[in-house]
Symmetry: C2
Subunit: 551 residues, 2 copies
């Protein structure tokens, strides 16, 4: 049996596009002699559709799309992901299903059992978990068909009381097919491959996996569809961050020795994945929004530099507009470094001073501020003047403003709400500052794209005289590991101190993180590339008093 894996860039709710892409994959696979084409989870509607699932019309469109794909499955079979209606009269209204299409119609429906409801996943919001399972018989083979999370309930991660494969294996299947919509996080790429190998070994069956591809708002689906033989060795992969269709012969798969699943090859491979992920995230956010052009404030600092490089790759340099907005405390090198970068990339730039606007704010507020010493209020006015300038240009000329905040500053609230926290999309908001440095060095690995001075000079917001980030915050190589322990690892302050960090410093940092939850609540969507990004995957009350001893 020849099985085609098709990973394509689905667009949530764009049924016409998704269905036509599946039909063209079926045509192409048929020509190459495939018996079956496998598409990803929710391939008919894109994933995650979120509350669109709650409207009758959306479900109707899914089912119509399935019927249309089925008409192209006369002599070739397809596995297509779609929501389906729960007709039991009790429980949630929908299932998350894999449809087996053949002979022009739906032959069998498998419903997902394990519904991830943690981090960015909210499947139990919509779906009823299935409790009985039947293999799909096709061309003399029995297929154990599952959906994404269904194969993730291994002994070391037993988040669910039971495991569908433990039931399906009793029906003596010949192979496993899993359709997924597993979003990218750099640390999950390895983990995912390990889960596949464990499954293949545990059940002694080859595993065919198809993942969704493409950016959907904050989530980036990396593809990485692959085939693992029953020895747990990698036989083939469709690669990351690109559309692909590949055909595998079931017999060959089992004959092939395959390759061991290898861990990430250090910092360079991580950066390569991060770069491709963020480029795809930006590109798809714009394309799927129907917007071509982006604007951003280029400060001469590293964050806006990295954002510009990524956006320029994603959207084309001709679609970028960099605006330099020097203010009363901007240094000479700010403008110089920014111009150098724009020139290196061939991106259009303009300079627009905020000084006049800042003065008029200060004049207008003078009757209230009187002779009070300048403080955060005056600093924020500069950041908000910049934001209003950029939004003015954005509104006038139809460019989307890119946010340039990094994860370290978003974490500790070192940014101005309605100022530098503005934008339609946060591009690098899931990269700690140390990761920003590392990715910038990776980008410069062959030639200097980001000016060396931008990389070398001490980070500064330049909102008061001689300001440095390090005046207010610990150095990033100290700050970031503590943030990682608190945010990603969910360690308590006490545990972080016991791990060898200074108590007063840990307390200071965690107070900042907790105290700036209200700012992050109003931030743009952040492209998620880590196991715990800010946004939908991290939900905290804004008025909690915890750790209560501190406030």
């Amino acid at each position: 049996m020849k099985i085609a894996l098709s990973q394509f860039n689905a667009h949530v709710g764009h049924f016409g596009y998704n269905v036509s892409r599946m039909i063209s994959s079926l045509e192409s696979a048929r020509k190459q002699g495939a018996d079956l084409v496998v598409f990803s989870e929710m391939s008919v509607c894109g994933y995650p559709p979120k509350d669109l699932l709650e409207t009758d019309e959306f479900i109707q469109k899914c089912l119509e799309g399935l019927v249309e794909v089925a008409t192209h499955c006369q002599d070739i079979a397809a596995i297509v992901g779609s929501p389906s209606l729960n007709k039991e009269g009790r429980g949630k209204r929908l299932y998350n299903s894999a449809f087996f299409l053949y002979g022009g119609k739906v032959r069998q429906v498998y419903n997902k059992a394990l519904l991830p409801t943690y981090d960015v996943f909210e499947e139990y919001r919509y779906f009823e978990p299935a409790t009985n399972f039947r293999v799909v018989a096709f061309k003399g083979k029995k297929i154990a068909l599952t959906v994404c999370e269904d194969i993730w309930n291994l002994d070391n991660f037993a988040l669910y009381p039971s495991t569908p494969m433990d039931i399906l294996i009793k029906q003596e299947p010949d192979l496993m097919i899993n359709i997924g919509a597993s979003p990218f996080a750099w640390s999950r790429v390895e983990e995912r491959m390990e889960v596949f190998t464990e499954n293949a070994r545990k059940y002694q069956l080859p595993l065919f996996y198809v993942n969704q591809l493409g950016g959907q708002t904050d989530l980036i689906f990396d593809g990485g569809s692959c085939v693992i033989n029953s020895k747990g060795k990698l036989v083939g992969s469709l690669g990351y961050f690109k559309e692909d269709l590949r055909i595998f012969d079931l017999q060959d798969v089992e004959k092939q020795q395959g390759l061991p699943v290898s861990p990430l090859n250090g910092e360079e491979e991580k950066n390569s994945l991060l770069y491709d992920a963020l480029v795809m995230g930006v590109r798809d956010y714009f394309r799927k929004s129907g917007i071509k052009k982006a604007i951003l404030g280029l400060s001469g600092g590293l964050d806006s530099a990295l954002t510009l490089v990524i956006a320029s790759e994603a959207l084309g340099r001709e679609n970028l507009w960099a605006v330099l907005l020097p203010g009363p405390f901007s240094s000479d090198h700010s403008v110089k470094d920014a111009v150098q970068l724009a020139d290196n990339l061939g991106v259009k730039y303009d300079e627009l001073s905020i000084n006049e606007v800042v003065s008029s704010f200060e004049d207008s507020l003078k009757p209230f501020f009187k002779d009070l010493p300048p403080d955060i209020a005056e600093e924020n006015i500069q950041a908000r003047a910049r934001a209003a300038m950029l939004m003015g240009l954005s509104n006038k000329f139809g460019h989307m403003l890119l946010n340039t905040s990094n994860k370290s500053e978003a974490a500790v609230g070192y940014g101005t709400l309605y100022g530098d926290m503005c934008g339609g999309l946060s591009v690098i908001g899931d990269l700690y500052k140390t990761e920003v440095f590392s990715l910038a060095r990776y980008i410069n690995r062959e030639q200097e794209i980001i000016p060396e001075n931008t990389l070398e000079k001490p980070p500064s917001a330049e909102l008061k005289a001689d300001q440095k980030d390090a005046d207010a915050l610990p150095e990033y190589h100290i700050l970031d590991p503590i943030l990682f322990q608190y945010i990603e690892k969910k360690m308590s302050p006490q545990q972080i101190v016991e791990d060898g960090n200074e108590a007063a410093l840990v307390e200071k940092i965690i107070r900042l993180v907790d105290g700036s939850e209200f700012k992050r609540h109003q931030s743009p969507p952040v492209l998620r590339v880590s196991q715990k990004g800010f946004g939908a995957g991290r939900k905290l009350p804004l008025v909690a008093k915890f750790p209560s001893s501190w406030k």
Copy 2:
């Protein structure tokens, strides 16, 4: 048996406070001869704790708090809500539990079975659903103890495959106790009482219900704890939006005829509930944030007027600062009406023109805008100038900025991101404009607090000459019902048209709603008072293409 119901204003994560409030309730109930005191769901930690539940430290504090409460339960029993650890080794890490405390220790634990995971609820994110249930035996009576949603799975709302009370009833209980954390929505108050009566009648048992009280970020818990006898009649209630402790004798409850559960008594009762809810929501958001003072821009229009009235009641007029920010297109009556309102309320106000700042923005942007005709860009600059002024004052003097947007304008995106959409809290963002009018009339029912001219004049953003909301939007009495059908009722455009609305108008409105999802993504938390507010309870992709035929 004498049962005390205690509804108190818990604060998420503030263990010291919550525990001490429970201990003082126990003392008070003991003096009045109670055998048992019932507290709400998650009373030890407050609800909803959200991802704080994911840290070990938080769970530890919950369990320590329970032990402390238990030491005060020597000769009196208590039912306390808390998360508890799932020790099965499979499934989610926690249960949502009701602890029965007596004789100084935990006697029995009931785990919640039905975990609401829809709208603002995300319980399956954290908790494993329980599957077996045992009544609590106490002083010769058997108590069927359940947690909130557990009694909501009635035949007309069968969201779950099974119902705990159907199992518990076989153990022949004498009464039902349900502890809840059921947030306010004006349309839910009646529904909740109907669910209670249905349960009492179905199982022919009296029901004792305790609900959480108080604002927790966007959610407002109204209390409304009550006792229903086995005939489904209301025997007593602790009232809405206030702390209370009341003692009921089980025998008396069954002897009393009680009152039928009555529906809301029209618009006035709805407005009375809305007003109390919003006042509590504002008050608790500030108190639980540790912030005393609020600032807001007072435009002379109705939205900021209503916001000021509510905030003034919630925080005290001495803690409010109203700032009038007239701009190039502000009418004379704007300032006059705003001053009149501030005077009526006795709230401090100041006037601060944005003209100079707006001019400096326009001058600075002139090299780019050239002679292009003024459009939304110039309008937004005015709104953003106001926001930056208000935030400057907020930053300098430590007042929290109140957002004054209503639900109609938030729905159609008729507001400026980083402009009038700014603020730490959206006070009336879950009221459609027609509801804003109705609530304002209610406030003026005995004397003119909001100036009549504010109520009478046509709504306008005053961002260009002679602008009226009605130039860009349908009249609110036409707009709001369509929004309600789309947002609350989740009707498709086609269904709304079939309901008798003009197709072109429906399409225009729904395009605006869908197209402004990105703005709402960055809005402050909105006090939720309806069955479907913007925010955590309504999750939509920002780059979806649906309805796909339209874009």
